[in-house]
Amino acid sequence: MTAEHEQAPQSTRQPLLELKKVTKHFGGLAAVQDVDLAIYPQEIVSIIGPNGAGKTTVFNLITGIYLATSGEIIFEGQPLKKASPHQVVQRGLARTFQNIRLFNNMTVLENVLVGEHLRLKASILDAVFRPPWVKQEEEEARRRAIELLSFFGQHLVDRQDEYVINLSYADRRRVEIARALASEPKLLLLDEPTAGMNEAETMEAVHYIRRLRDELHLTILLIEHKLMVTMGISDRIAVLDYGRKIAEGLPDEIRRDERVITAYLGKAATADRQTWQVALRPQPEGEANNHHE
């Protein structure tokens, strides 16, 4: 489906997000070392790598939870210098978490409303005195939250008053994404969005992730373990191992890259290409088909 997008050749486009030699040390341990990455608008880029490779650390560096030991992170041409998490959101990046972090004792609607925090203007005094524009703003916010929920179909809208703790895992993931969307980000970072999902749920997730880019024109940076997902959905893939980027390129290139195979399966596996190819074969049928026409 990537062929459908009118994209100028990469060399003339400005990257939306750029990581330049980003390094993060925790004491003596280099969790991330000299990572370079450029993400262009309306791309879906995946970061993959074995466990402990530093993928979530990269996310945390981008979103301001950690401060980089060295290197630069540049968003829309401006560096994200020492930005705290909420400032990062203000700049236009939103994220989801690997272990879904929803506000458990709030309802679905309230969770999404919290995501709209930056869009709303009412201060604490405005809250107390409630001039008419505040009431209107709240109604607007509710409408918009319902609209966001409806991206996933009607069933979340129907359950907007449920406490999120009662929802299924897949639904909780959707609510978390809706909450991230509520801040109107330009770049969406999804940390293992299909973790813990079965095949059907994974296919659904892949479908709506693609829709996020296609319908909402978002740029998406993805951490994903399921290679089938990454192969099927990504425009480009970056591979990390032990904190370093060992490969980057199109899905087909990555699939055949020696270093990637070694990193995942060890040296012996390079001989056993059959196994690897089988493991990475994209899904034969279904909506998340990655037929490159």
């Binding site: 909420h86 925090h117 604490i124 809250a127 008053d161």
Partner: protein
């Protein structure tokens, strides 16, 4: 109107008849007890006297009479509403027993002990026994679980008419029965000579009353019916929840509403399984409470005899605890910041007015203000004291920003200790251990404060509480309120959603301190002296206890919690002592017996022991507090959500539900 055919006042169907019987009797009993056994009738008689016999003219008595009329009107309307709103599925007996325990028992207990808080405390004990007794019974004879409400139909014209009719019938029959029984009782007394020389006025009154009541019942029933219809699921949108505008109600939505909100949360719906808890009923309760609060000083002499003024004085004091609890609720309940030093802001607020509104101002700055003008300064200073306290909230909150949980608590504890001591030691400004005296009361047109009666302070605190309550409600349902709660739930996720944690935490401290500043200024004015030595960490603990006992994060909860804690500490226990020493009271023999065994015994002495026991018991059996917020009840009794369809059997680790499945019996 001429169409009022007699057959219209007869219940048409068996079900209507049953509903009528159910609710009319349910309310008739307590109302009769209140009127005839206690002082309902006495108040009305006094009002009549005041109007028609110039010698006994008293505005208070007339006002009290007005209250009684309001009272009957509200109850009548409520009965009509309930007849209309009830789905009829709750058993008659169940309801009567509940009503008995929750209305008749307190009325009788308060009447017997002639003391509002002792009576209420005794009622609470009775309720605890009833509640657990009922649970035991239910465990042995479990009631059939109610299926979800059958297809909730959108109300059409026919159903509306039915509801209205039912409501009218309900109120009418209630009023009629009430007036008939009352008439009988009065006639009985008259003919057995108890009334002595009943004057013409009384006879006319009895006659008028017996005729007017049923008529009023019919009219009030229409009102009750309208309330019921208003809260029914209409064709557009979702009942009282007006912000879900425009979306037509699909049958699917109704089914979901039915399944997920059938039990406790279907308050907005008519028909309703628990109409007493419905939103419509709550309107009536609030109205009744409002009337009670406003008219209380006038009806108190009839209810409890002499001593009104000291009681009002006490309630005025209880009031500022309510404000403190509401303020602390923002910090601890909404934002989840464990503040153990809340008393510091109270002291700051109190001293702000104390230093400006007393001769101390002259001592400090040499400014001398005309004593006629000086008291008026209270009103602007109320805001100033609150603002200064808020400022200190920010200053004392700032060092705690990076701390979590226990460490935050310790730092706030430290400040809670430091501030009163610092204030005390700045004796050049604050007069140190001697405290400040001669603090002015506020001024208001034609009102004499603190001179002969505590009424002005009582009304002042009512107004202040109303304002603070409104502010709190608005804060909770606003952008900043959601930010606080989100921050409490998960700081990292909150920050990742765009919430500035620093700003939000500081705002929480500031808002909480603001309200305690108001309470402080009020306190200084009312007591007209402040001494910093009176405040310490244990006060902060009391405020925290009020919030936790009442229900963390729940606004009605902390109000009740504050009143309960104040009542137990200040009102109930000394009153029990007084009762115990009074030879004519019931507990006298028990009391003297205890004294024989423990010579130094007094309830006031073991106050802390009792308070501690209550705290422990409550935290074991009802950790979510007296009136928990729906969130908290949900959080702490998550397993009760079994009635809801659980579509995921897998609760991921880290979610609270994960551990609650391991029940330790």
């Amino acid at each position: 109107m001429a169409m009022l055919v007699p057959s219209q006042i007869l219940p048409q169907t068996g079900e209507t008849r049953r509903l009528l019987l159910k609710w009319v009797i349910a309310f008739l009993v307590p109302v009769l007890v209140f009127t005839l056994v206690w002082s309902g009738e006495a108040i009305l008689n006094a009002a009549l006297l005041a109007i028609f016999f110039p010698g006994s003219f008293s505005i208070a008595a007339i006002a009290a009479g007005l209250f009684m009329l309001l009272f009957y009107g509200i109850i009548t309307g409520l009965t009509g509403y309930l007849v209309a709103a009830d789905s009829g599925r709750q058993s008659l007996l169940d309801l009567w027993i509940s009503m008995f325990f929750f209305t008749v028992v307190p009325i009788l207990l308060i009447y017997i002990t002639a003391n509002l808080f002792v009576g209420l405390a005794a009622s609470v004990v009775v309720w605890a026994f009833y509640y657990y007794g009922r649970r035991l019974v239910r465990r042995f004879r479990p009631p059939a679980p109610l299926p979800p409400l059958p297809s909730l139909k959108v109300l059409d014209a026919e159903m509306r008419a039915t509801l209205l009719t039912r409501a009218r019938l309900g109120s009418f029959w209630f009023a009629l029965s009430f007036s008939l029984i009352w008439l009988l009782v009065d006639l009985l007394f008259y003919f057995t000579g108890q009334y002595g020389q009943a004057s013409l006025v009384f006879l006319v009154w009895i006659l008028l009353r017996s005729v007017l009541l049923p008529v009023a019942g019919w009219l009030l029933g229409s009102l009750g019916g309208l309330v019921a219809i208003r809260h029914a699921v209409p064709a557009n949108g979702n009942g009282s929840n007006g912000d879900r505008a425009g979306a037509p109600v699909s049958t699917r939505r109704l089914r979901l509403l039915s399944a997920t909100r059938a039990r406790e949360e279907a308050r907005d719906l008519v028909p309703n399984d628990l109409p007493l808890r419905s939103t419509g009923a709550r309107n009536f309760y609030l109205l009744l409470l409002l009337a009670l609060l406003v008219f209380y000083p006038m009806i108190d002499p009839f209810l409890f005899g002499p001593g009104t003024d000291s009681r009002l004085d006490n309630y005025g004091n209880a009031g500022y605890y309510v404000i403190l609890a509401l303020g602390l609720n923002i910090v601890v309940g909404f934002a989840g910041l464990l503040d153990l030093g809340y008393v510091a802001f109270f002291v700051i607020g109190a001293y702000t007015w104390a230093m400006v509104g007393s001769p101390q101002l002259t001592v400090l700055t040499g400014i001398h203000i005309n004593p006629d003008i000086w008291p008026w300064l209270f009103w602007p200073m109320l805001i100033v004291a609150a603002l200064i306290a808020a400022l200190w909230g920010v200053l004392l909150g700032a060092p705690t920003l990076r701390l979590r949980g226990d460490y935050l608590a310790i730092v706030t504890l430290g400040f809670g200790e430091i501030i009163p001591i610092v204030v005390q030691n700045l004796d050049k400004y604050t007069n140190g251990t001697n405290g400040l005296t001669g603090i002015y009361s506020p001024a208001f047109f034609g009102v004499h404060w603190n001179v002969s009666t505590s009424e002005p302070y009582y009304y002042l605190i009512l107004v202040l509480i109303a304002i603070v309550l409104l502010a709190n409600l608005r804060l909770r349902d606003s952008r900043i309120g959601r930010a606080w709660i989100a921050m409490r739930e998960d700081e990292i996720a909150a920050a990742a959603s765009g919430i500035n944690l620093t700003r939000t935490k500081l705002l929480a401290f500031a808002a909480g301190a603001f309200f305690s500043g108001i309470a402080g200024a009020y306190y200084a004015a009312k007591l007209s002296t402040v001494t910093s030595g009176n405040f310490s960490f244990s006060d902060s603990v009391i405020y925290l206890a009020m919030v936790v006992l009442g229900g963390l994060g729940s606004i009605p909860g902390v109000v009740v919690g504050a009143l309960a804690v104040y009542a137990v500490n200040v009102l109930v226990l000394p009153q029990l002592d007084a009762l115990g020493n009074d030879p004519s009271s019931i507990i006298y023999p028990i009391y003297t017996h205890i004294l024989q065994v423990i010579p130094n015994f007094s309830f006031s002495n073991i106050r802390n022991l009792i308070f501690g026991i209550i705290l422990v018991v409550l935290m074991i059996f009802r950790p979510e507090g007296l009136i928990p917020s729906t969130r908290r009840r949900h959080e702490l009794h998550h397993t009760e959500a079994e009635g809801v369809e659980i579509t995921s059997l897998d609760t991921p680790p880290g979610a609270p539900g994960f551990e609650s499945e391991m029940r330790v019996e």
